[in-house]
Amino acid sequence: MFAIPAFHKLQEQIQAADVDDVQRSLRADHLHAADLAALLSPAADNYLESMAARSAAITALRFGRTTQIYAPLYVSSFCTNRCTYCGFSADNKIERRILSLEEAEAEAMILHQRGFNHILLVSGEAPAKLGVEYLEKFALRLRDRFAAISIEIQPLSSEEYTRLFAAGITGVAIYQETYDRITYGQVHMSGQKCDFDFRLETPARAAAGGMREVGIGALLGLADWRAEGLALGLHLAWLRKNFWRTGLTVSFPRLRPAAGEFQPLVNVTEKDLSHLIFALRIFDPDVGIILSTREEARFRNGMVGLGPTRYSAGSCTAPGGYSNPELTGEQFAIGDHRTIDEVCGAIRQKGFDPVRKDWDAGFQQHSLPL
């Protein structure tokens, strides 16, 4: 089981790093946790340019001059958790919706027609309304039309992940939100999500269930971003050791304005976010790094090729929002409103190939009888 050191210990380790540590870590071929701590430290703040260059070179070598493209598909905004930062929090007075399988399929077909081949199904956490059965049925409807289907929903058991994998879902995103137990307890007021350890063990359950790809992440704006970065690095390294067959991704969503008037507890700037991305890339050359439409077009354009490997595009965070753009009840307001074609065009302009298909349902046994 993955044991995370106390958050203040991580902070102390980071604060103890000096310029010599940073330089040594930047020269190293294989980085250890201590190197990641150094690269995340205030002593590394003046090395952002060098880190960006190293990060870009590693990214090119491991991922090439390409950026993967995907879209989220929100299927339900019902949620039994009360979380201070989230638009779907049970207390918030928003219009709640769960899409019927027919409505969800219509949303998926819009994304398909727009040229998306990789989709991420997202929902609030309300297992009684949206559980494994719904996702299984939905995946079976979609799998012949999409190269890859992932989910970002409530934590499940290994057996449930195995069942969904068999239905054609190949990836799971499950973010710890914050690796600081104290803050975690403060922002998660009630619901299953209050259980820090159950959530922390979810990526391992997804990997054990046979998922090809597991995404972990921290929601920036809750606690010290430097320590979140180190915790993520430790979590990644542990997952790599224990589940060597599983592909891993990280994401650092920054808190955006949402219903409930929550203000970020700590300020995380674009510079901080870039710093985190570069450090994690140098620490783990092979991890997929996601940069979503939470960030503005200007920043996303600038970051192409510097570390992130996967961009969402044309996103709507309200269930049913692709069919009915006027719908309200989104999870958060997005920062990049461009269409998929505009995002792909901008990526091409940077000399990168926007990749819409990088998987094939044919890998698995069930799609077509042979």
Binding site: L61, R65, T246, D286, V355, D358, D360, G362
Partner: protein, 256 residues
């Protein structure tokens, strides 16, 4: 001339198509490389979509299209993907990649052998990607592989021919062509592989990620030709002792 499964190739440089900045750059790099065999990850293309950008640049009358199973975790997945691809018109040729570790992308020898046995039985022309393991190469050859493709170094590392000693044994023993695949980071690496007797090399990252991929493709083409030329001409043995090129002392004093 290089011959694999009865087909002749003038060029001994094979190209991978991943990691390029655009289909257009890929097309120009292919042309500059002079290669005739091109491998494409089935996960990246939609064989049923006529507007697929990568398939669009591959003139299949000029190049042999070698689909690969990159991403397959075991024999079952690789075999399944190969069958689907052939059903969609990709042909009989297949670069078999079974890479269960998404980080290093190192090939699984056990599953690769299993998949080769099955695919050969089904009439595929199988070119398996393997670690530089001489015994595995022999086992695959016995199983009917049309060539073996040992790695120079792990994919995307540009580390060069760090498996040289093992590759030399493979070349020495093999009845089928040996194609050094993966890890070649510079034209000199490719030249070295050819000098020691590899039948061909497959290059991707070093070309696609170069500042000027088209120029790099041409550079690799030149290196492959030079390396092959040197192999055919017969390289002198390396020695740490100096030896005069015109020996001063003959052996004509020996009688009988």
């Amino acid at each position: 001339m290089l011959k694999i499964a009865g087909r002749k190739f003038r060029s001994r440089l094979f190209l991978g198509t991943g990691k390029f900045s655009s289909a257009d750059t890929l097309k120009k790099a292919i042309e500059a490389s002079g290669c005739e065999m091109i491998t494409v990850a089935l996960r990246r293309v939609d064989l049923n979509d006529p507007s697929d950008d990568i398939m669009g640049v591959l003139d299949r009358s000029k190049y042999l299209f070698l689909p690969n199973t990159s991403g397959a975790r075991d024999a079952k997945e690789a075999v399944r993907l190969a069958r689907l691809a052939r059903a969609a018109g990709s042909g009989d040729w297949l670069k078999l990649e079974v890479t269960p570790d998404p980080r290093t992308l190192l090939p699984d020898p056990v599953e690769t052998l299993k998949a080769t046995e099955e695919l050969v039985k089904e009439g595929f022309i199988v070119l398996p990607y393997i670690n530089a393991d001489p015994i595995l190469a022999l086992r695959l050859q016995d199983a009917g592989a049309a060539a073996v493709m040992p790695l120079g170094a792990p994919i995307g590392t540009n580390l060069g021919l760090i498996t040289r000693f093992q590759v030399e044994i493979i070349i020495d023993q093999a009845r089928v062509p040996v194609v050094v695949d993966a890890g070649l980071g510079a034209p000199s690496d490719a030249a070295l592989a050819m000098e020691i007797g590899a039948d061909a090399v497959l290059v991707n990252t070093a070309i696609s990620v170069a500042r000027d991929p088209v120029k790099m493709a041409a550079a690799f083409a030149g290196a492959v030709e030079a390396g092959r030329g040197a192999y055919e001409a017969g390289l002198g043995r390396k020695s740490s002792e100096a030896s005069a090129s015109s020996p001063l002392t003959g052996l004509d004093f020996i009688k009988g």
